[in-house]
């Protein structure tokens, strides 16, 4: 080879080798003062920084926070880099992030007093292979949320897990453009929850042994209202029969133990191709806000679920041990096991057209769920006119579009894995 060729080759090689090492700004070592050094690194990070964490069980007694954009925090694996907050003395959460372009991967956050990972007001969030867990199992003393983006845009949560949260394991609130996929929610009150959010795809997740598996909620009185356009598909939602341990009086405390999927007052929701089984109150429940029993004081809030399309799910088992008011009021009327799919029957009378039907594009449609049975339990009429007839719901709706995230959020990082 000529000298020039060698030189060019060397230059090319060095560029190739350095693609992945360009931004290793901060490799932290375990040891004394780890949490002080970690917090200093989070404060001093420049946009684009990658903070590498060591292996080990790293003891944290105080909350961490990040407010610099475009920072990546990377551990050595969610079973290898464990931020343990068992001795937490101050601060409400484990790690709170208020900046955009945030990526966190390959670590675990355990036993925080409050929420494990809270991301507030960010545009661009990627949570990948992160485990949030309360290691003593379900308890009302556990923090509320495991993985908790709120008021965010462009959110990707994948290959992650949340175990033991006293409200919701993976909770996305008041946000838009969301993907939650290939993740595991176990032993939380709510496994995965999408609340007051627009454009969410929740797929290929496992929600098992929670109180309720997957919740799609739209609630009043929050700054961001009008949740809708959520797809829940290809998930396994099974055996969500863990006794409710949510804070008394909270919305999540009202979820009946043994619920698979609940759609509460959200519009344009498609629940399809899921395996939903062995949830002992109801596998699928579609309800209006009136069924919560809370008064509505928010004039701009729309409490009815509309354009709900439940189709092509494999539903089996469950309904054998209904919980809460279902057990007390409804099961004696209806018998056990409870039907697989429940609807509270409350519709907006203003929207009813001829034949007392909702317009085609706003209907509740339930199709092709095998022999899963159904009930409209007439909550508005105190269960007087329950009906098991699926015919009025034998319709289809236009499939919702897929969520598209900007490329930076959706792709694994350069040099990653």
């Amino acid at each position: 080879m000529s000298k020039i060729t060698v030189a060019l080759f060397a230059v090319a090689l060095s560029f190739t080798l350095c693609v992945s090492c360009a931004r290793r700004d901060s490799g932290l070592a375990a040891g004394p003062d780890f949490q002080k050094r970690f917090q200093e690194a989070l404060i001093g990070a420049k946009p684009g920084a990658v903070i590498d964490l060591p292996e080990g069980r790293l003891d944290m007694d105080r909350a961490l926070s990040l407010s610099v954009d475009n920072v990546t925090i990377r551990g050595k694996g969610s079973d290898k880099t464990i931020l343990s907050f068992k001795n937490q003395k101050s601060g409400p959460a484990g790690l709170t992030v208020t900046s955009s372009g945030f990526t966190i991967e390959d670590l675990a956050i355990e036993d925080t007093k409050g929420d494990a990972l809270k991301i507030n007001g960010a545009n661009g969030v990627t949570v990948r292979r992160v485990r949030a867990e309360w290691t003593d199992g379900p308890s009302e003393k556990n923090g509320s949320y495991g993985i908790y983006p709120v008021q965010c845009k462009n959110v990707l949560i994948e290959d992650s897990a949340s175990i033991g949260a006293a409200d919701a394991g993976i909770y996305v609130g008041q946000s838009s453009n969301i993907i939650v996929r290939r993740s595991r929610a176990e032993a939380n009150v709510a496994g995965i929850e999408i609340e007051n959010s627009q454009f969410a795809d929740v797929y290929e997740n496992k929600a098992t042994h929670n109180t309720g598996g997957i919740l799609v909620f739209n609630l009043p009185d929050l700054p961001v209202k009008g949740g809708g356009n959520t797809r829940v598909f290809n998930n396994e939602i099974a055996e969500n029969n863990t006794q409710n341990f949510g804070a008394k009086g909270s919305m999540v405390a009202k979820v009946p133990t043994g619920t698979g999927v609940i759609v509460l007052a959200t519009n344009h929701v498609e629940v399809f191709k899921n395996t939903i089984r062995d949830n002992n109150t109801a596998n699928v429940s579609v309800i209006s806000y009136f069924t919560t029993g809370n008064p509505i004081n928010d004039a701009s809030y729309y409490p009815f679920p509309e354009a709900i399309y439940v189709h092509d799910n494999v539903i089996s088992g469950g309904g054998a041990a209904p919980s809460g008011e279902y057990a007390d009021a409804l099961a004696p009327v209806v018998g056990k096991p409870m039907p697989a799919i429940l609807f509270d029957g409350i519709v907006n009378p203003v929207k009813l057209g001829p034949g007392k039907r909702l317009p085609d594009d706003l209907r509740i449609c339930i199709q092709n769920n095998g022999d899963a049975n159904f009930m409209n339990y007439d909550a508005g009429g105190h269960f007087k006119h329950v009906s098991r007839d699926l015919k009025p719901y034998n319709c289809s709706l236009a499939p919702l579009s897929a969520v598209n995230l900007p490329a930076a959020a959706a792709a694994p990082p350069a040099g990653g894995n």
Partner: protein, 350 residues
């Protein structure tokens, strides 16, 4: 008067402002104080000030000062923090009577809030035990403080010095770092200056630190939380809640996702928490149902959280490790004076 203050700052030992990185490692580099550091004797142009109702900080003594570059002034605003010039330095120094030194004052930290070229920056300086210097520490460890109350009671607390993110956690208006205290309604009070007792808005105007302020009796004024002569129970409780809570609990604050808004000017009772179902309190609700129940402080989540010192339950989240007994008593009295029932609705299921 203004000229004397300004020109005496110009020769050598006046305040050294810094408006860009890197910021000094040592507090003394700012020359905010003259003479022995721990005496906190303000340098020329460094003006002490006080608030009608201050934030509770574990009963620490707090010394507040403001300095502006010569020839500059803040612009008055009736409702929001004044518009301060680039170069403005706010300093707040926290100290306790040290139980291990017969009550001699031990200074713990001085927090600077500096209006730099790129916005307000927060700089925490931690004092050494010798009280000769304070050093910038962006993520300081907590420090044990043994302090003695004038009554003789001794307390031991794990005093948390905020890291710079935690400073920003409260000093946040729509994600922009902002001062909290220096608003017309909280500054509108008399202060005992070395040269006499004067209203702060009038004094700042006289020395050229403030332009556009109306006469003090035309400016808004917050009640003094523990002075019944300064306002009604409601006014005093609202002042207390504003300064302790509303930096987060307002529509542009870090807790705006909760819908609980506690500025003194808030008129909607639901936004103040009356019969409001909590949004994300979780176990912070203490199994209670509403933020505020009229006539029933013991059933109000607001009181429960003020009385807690457990992370996740306690409110404010940061800034205190003790319960403010007197503040809690005020809020309990305020809630007890309210009427009205919260309808719990039908006990629901989903």
């Amino acid at each position: 008067m203004a000229a004397v203050l300004m020109f005496s700052a110009c020769g050598g030992r006046g305040v050294h402002p810094h408006v860009a990185e890197p910021y000094p490692e040592r507090l003394s580099a700012w020359h905010l104080f003259a003479g022995e550091p721990a005496a906190l004797k303000p340098n020329a142009g460094v003006i002490p000030y006080d608030l009608n109702t201050p934030l509770f900080s574990d009963y620490a003594t707090k010394y507040r000062f403001v300095w502006m570059p010569p020839g500059t002034s803040a612009t008055y605003n009736e409702t929001e923090v004044f518009d301060f010039p680039v170069g403005t330095i706010f300093s707040k120094t926290f100290a306790y009577p040290d139980a291990d030194q017969g009550g001699k004052q031990r200074i713990i930290e001085t927090r600077l809030l500096v209006n730099s070229r790129s916005g307000w920056v927060t700089l925490p300086y931690v004092w050494n035990r010798e009280q000769t210097e304070a050093t910038l520490d962006v993520a300081a460890d907590p420090t044990t403080v043994h302090w003695v109350h004038p009554s003789g009671t001794r307390y031991t607390i794990d005093y948390v010095i905020p890291n710079t993110n935690q400073c920003k956690g409260c000093h946040d208006r729509s994600k922009i770092v902002t001062p909290i205290g220096p608003k017309a309604r909280n500054l509108n009070k008399d202060f005992n200056y070395p040269d006499g007792r004067f209203n702060q808005l009038a004094y700042w105007t006289r020395i050229g630190y403030l332009k556009g302020a109306p006469p003090p009796d035309h400016a808004p004024k917050l009640a003094v939380w523990d002075d019944p002569a300064s306002g009604s129970l409601d006014a005093r409780a609202r002042a207390y809640l504003e300064i302790n809570c509303a930096h987060c609990h307002n529509p542009q604050g870090p807790a705006n996702t909760t819908g609980l808004y506690l500025l003194a000017a808030q008129t909607d009772p639901m936004r103040l928490g009356l019969c409001k179902v909590p949004v994300s309190a979780g176990q912070g609700s203490g199994d209670l149902l509403f933020d505020v129940v009229g006539g029933k402080p013991e059933e109000s989540i607001l009181v429960h959280r003020m009385e807690s010192t457990t992370p996740k339950v306690m409110m404010p989240e940061l800034g205190r490790s003790m319960v403010h007994r007197e503040g809690v008593a005020l809020i309990r009295e305020w809630i007890a004076s309210m009427r009205g029932k919260c309808s719990e609705g039908r006990s629901g299921h989903l």
